[in-house]
Point group: C2
Chain length 453, copies 2
C-alpha cells in the first residue's frame, strides 16, 4: 500500500476518549505533597486553585480512559485530526533507508499542541460555572491557546505574561488580545505578590515563577476564577494523549510499526501525550520501542538532574512534586526554546525514566537550529525551536541508519511552528547564537536548594 505524504484520520476515526497512562504504570508517579505538612495533597486542598473535575483527573491513577466531552470534541474537529506526515523529502535529503514520520501539531492559530489541553481545561471551568480562569505565559504559546479556548466558550481569560516577553513579543500579546484575553505584564501592581516583588526589585523584567505566583493569587482571590496550567501536571498529559492516540490510529491504518519514538521535553506535555499508547504497549510487553526524550543542553533536567521532591515554582507556593529536577533555584541560561526552559519534569515521565522505560539526551542550541533549517528547506514547515530538538534527534537516528543500512521507522513529534520565533532564527543566521551549557558548579547551586523530604 502506498503511504501518502500526509495521513489524515477521518472524523469518525478520531479517538473519543483520552488515555491515562498512569492506570497501566506498575510504579505510579509519586503524589503531590502539601509543602507545609509533606502529606499528599487532597482534592479539597487543591479546590481553591484548580477546577473540580481537573483535580479528579489529576489524582486518578486508576481510570484508563476518560471520555472526551462532546463540546471539546467539536472544538477538536476545527483543527484536528492533525496530520501524521511521512517525511519523504527529508529521507531523500538524508539519503537514509530509515522511514521518518512526524505528527504535526502546528496547524492551529496557537501554533502548537497546547490547544489540546487548553480547550479541555476551559471546558471544565465553564462546566463548573466559573466566570474565568487565570494563567501565566512565557513565550506565549500556552497563553494564546488558552485565549482561543476561552473565546470559544465565552469564558474570561486573564494572562500574566512575563514582562520581558510582553515587551519583546508584542505580536503574541496581540494574538491573545484578538481572542479577548486580558494580558498583564508580570510582575504587576494588580496582586500583592506583584507589589512585593516590584518594591523589592524595582525595574525587574519578571520571571515565569513570579507570573505563576501572580496568576495563582489572582485566581484564589477573585470570586468565580480558578488557575490553569499548560504542562507538567498529570491532567495535561491526559489531554495531550490525543496526540499519541491519533498517531497510533494513523500508523495502524497503514500497518506501520515504529521502532523509535522521539519527542522534545520541557515540562513533558507533548512527550507524555505522544508516547502514551506506545508506552502502554511497552509496559504490557506487547510491543517494544525506543522512546527518546530530547532536552536542551542548557536545561538538562533528565540527563543531569536528580530524581527528588522539589518545588514546582520559583516562588515556592505550589505543591511539591517528585521529579527529575535541577532545583527550583536553577536559572536556565537564555535559550530560544522558551517552552523547554523548566527546571523540573512531569512526575509521570520522571517515574517512567527512572524505571528505565525511556531514554533521554540533551542537544546544544546551534545544532538544533541547523537541524531546523535543514528540515524547513525540504519539508516546507518552519519549526518552533522547541520542536526542533526532536528534529535534531530524528535526523541523527536516521543518519545512523544510513551508516548501518537499517530501515528503521522513526516517529517524532513536531509540536509547533516558529513564526513567532524569528528573532531566534535571526541570531542563528547572523552567527550570534550562544551554546551555553551549565557547569557542574552551576548545577550544584540549584541542587543544593532542594527541600528536605
Amino acid at each position: 500500500m502506498d503511504i501518502p505524504y500526509k495521513i489524515y484520520l477521518n472524523e469518525d476515526e478520531m479517538p473519543r476518549a483520552w488515555y491515562n497512562l498512569r492506570a497501566d504504570m506498575k510504579n505510579k508517579p509519586a503524589p503531590l505533597l502539601n509543602p507545609a505538612t509533606h502529606e499528599p495533597m487532597t482534592a479539597s486542598e487543591l479546590a481553591p486553585v484548580f477546577c473540580e473535575e481537573l483535580i479528579a483527573q489529576e489524582l486518578d491513577n486508576d481510570t484508563a480512559y476518560f471520555p472526551i466531552p462532546d463540546e471539546v470534541f467539536n472544538f477538536y474537529k476545527m483543527y484536528r485530526p492533525s496530520p501524521l506526515v511521512r517525511a519523504y523529502c527529508l529521507e531523500k535529503e538524508l539519503g537514509t533507508p530509515a522511514k521518518i514520520y512526524y505528527k504535526f501539531e502546528g496547524n492551529n492559530t496557537s501554533g502548537s499542541h497546547k490547544l489540546n489541553s487548553a480547550i479541555a481545561q476551559a471546558y471544565y471551568a465553564k462546566k463548573q460555572g466559573l466566570k474565568g480562569v487565570t494563567t501565566e505565559t512565557g513565550a506565549g504559546q500556552w497563553g494564546t491557546a488558552l485565549s482561543m479556548a476561552c473565546a470559544y466558550l465565552g469564558l474570561d481569560c486573564r494572562v500574566y505574561m512575563v514582562k520581558v516577553s510582553y515587551e519583546q513579543k508584542p505580536f503574541r500579546r496581540e494574538v491573545m488580545r484578538t481572542y479577548g484575553a486580558t494580558v498583564t505584564p508580570s510582575p504587576s501592581m494588580s496582586t500583592e505578590i506583584g507589589k512585593k516583588i516590584l518594591s523589592e526589585h524595582p525595574g525587574t523584567t519578571g520571571s515565569l515563577g513570579c507570573a505563576i505566583s501572580e496568576a495563582v493569587e489572582a485566581a484564589t482571590t477573585t470570586e468565580g476564577y480558578r488557575y490553569v496550567l499548560g504542562s507538567v501536571l498529570n491532567q495535561v498529559l491526559l489531554h495531550q494523549s490525543i496526540i499519541g492516540l491519533e498517531t497510533e490510529a494513523a500508523l495502524k491504518k497503514y500497518g506501520i510499526k515504529p521502532d523509535i519514538i522521539i519527542g522534545c521535553a520541557g515540562g513533558g506535555s507533548n512527550l507524555g501525550g505522544l508516547i502514551a499508547p506506545f508506552m502502554r504497549d511497552k509496559i504490557k510487553g506487547v510491543a517494544d520501542y525506543r522512546i527518546i526524550a530530547v532536552e536542551p543542553a542548557s536545561c538538562p533536567s533528565f540527563t543531569r538532574g536528580v530524581y527528588a521532591y522539589d518545588f514546582c515554582d520559583t516562588g515556592k507556593v505550589c505543591p511539591l512534586a517528585k521529579m527529575y529536577t535541577l532545583g527550583s533555584g536553577f536559572i536556565p541560561a537564555p535559550n530560544h526554546a522558551g517552552g523547554l526552559r523548566y527546571h523540573g519534569m512531569s512526575s509521570t515521565l520522571s517515574q517512567l525514566y527512572d524505571d528505565g522505560l525511556m531514554e533521554a539526551i540533551s542537544v546544544p542550541q546551534t545544532e538544533v537550529f541547523k537541524a531546523a533549517e535543514r528540515f524547513a528547506r525540504v519539508e516546507g514547515i518552519l519549526p518552533a525551536p522547541e520542536s526542533s530538538h526532536a528534529i535534531k534527534a530524528a535526523i541523527d537516528e536516521a543518519e545512523k541508519c544510513r551508516e548501518t543500512g537499517e530501515e528503521k521507522t522513526i516517529v517524532f513529534g513536531l509540536t509547533g511552528t516558529g513564526y513567532f520565533d524569528m528573532v531566534a532564527y535571526e541570531k542563528f543566521h547572523d552567527g550570534k547564537m550562544d551554546d551555553y551549557i551549565p557547569t557542574d558548579e552551576d548545577l550544584a547551586v540549584g541542587l543544593s536548594q532542594l527541600p528536605k523530604i
Copy 2:
C-alpha cells in the same frame, strides 16, 4: 450525509491538471501590449524576462487543461489538499440558516495560497536550466513562498523587498533567509535603476513599483536568471486554479451546491483561482452562481476604476495590460491589506467583470478587522487582513439570509493567516486604524495618467 468540519480530499482525488479559464471565455482577455509599439507582446519579446514555458502558458487562450508536472504535484502533496471547512461555529454565532464553507489556504509556512504558483514557476525555471529567479515582495507572502519553492528545488532566489517592509517586517525577512533566499532592501545600489532612484530621492523607503523594476533589471542583466511574479498574470491564475478545482471536488464529494462564491481581490490570483471551475460552468450555462470580488475601499480598482490599457508597474517598464485600473500613478493610502494594494487587476478577471459575469464590492478597513476578529474567536483561525475582506462579505451575505430565512450556501476563499500582521491588529485593538477612502479628486490624478492607446 453528515458534513464534517473539514473536508479533505485524498491524494488520489487531487486534481492532476490546472484549468485555464481563458479557453472557455467567450470574450478573451485583451493581450499584453508592447509599451513602445502598442502591438501585442510576442513570446520572443517576453523571453529575456520570463521563463519559456511560463510565457507559453501566459499567451495560451485555447488549451483548457495543463497537466501538473510530477515534481510540482509531489510538492503540492506536502501541504495540499487544503481543507474545505464548514464554518459550523460561525453559522451558530451569526444565527443564520445559511451554510458557510471556506477554502483555507493558510496551512503552509508561506501562510497563503502564493505557494501554489511559486512552486510551479520555480519548477519551470529549473527545467529551463536556469540558475535562479528574481522577484519583488511587499508584505512578504510572495517572497516567502518563492523562497520555499526555490529551497526545495535548489534554485537561487533573489528577493527585492520594499525597504519600509524590510525594516518593519524583519520576521518575514528572516523566514526568507531561513529558506536560503537573498533579500535586498529596495531601492538598492545593486541595480542601475536603484542607484538612479537613490540619487534622485535620497532616504526613500521604496515602493513596489521600484522593487519590480530592480527585480526585472537583475533578471535581465544576470546570466541564467529570469523574473517571476506572484499575481496579476494569466499564468498565475492558471496555477491557482488548483484552489477552485479542489473546492469543486470537495463540494461534489458531499453533493453540495454553492449559491454564492466570494473572494478578496488585489491582483486577482486567489479570486481567479477559486472561481475558475465555477465560472466555467456559469459561462457554459450548466450552473449559476453569484460570484463576488471584495476589494478594499482604499484601493477600489473594480468598483471605481476604469477598464483600459495601463502600465502594470509605476516604473512603466512592463508591458501594457488592459484591466480595471486606478492608474499606475495612483498611490493607495496606507492599508494593512498590503496584498490588495494594487492599482490594477488581472486582465482575465477584468474581462469577466466587464462581461457582467461577476460582481464587485468594496469594504472599509475597520469593518474588515471587526469581521476578522469575530471570525477568529469562533473559528479559531487568525485570518490575514487580505482574506478578511472575503470574511466580511460572507458574514454580510449570511446575515441577509438570517433576515430572509434563505438557506443559501456560501463559499469563500480564506487565503491566509495573519501571524505577520499583528501590527495591524494592534492598531485595530487600540482604535488607531484609519479608514481613508479616496475622493473622486484623488482618483482623478491616477486616471489622468493612463496611456493613450
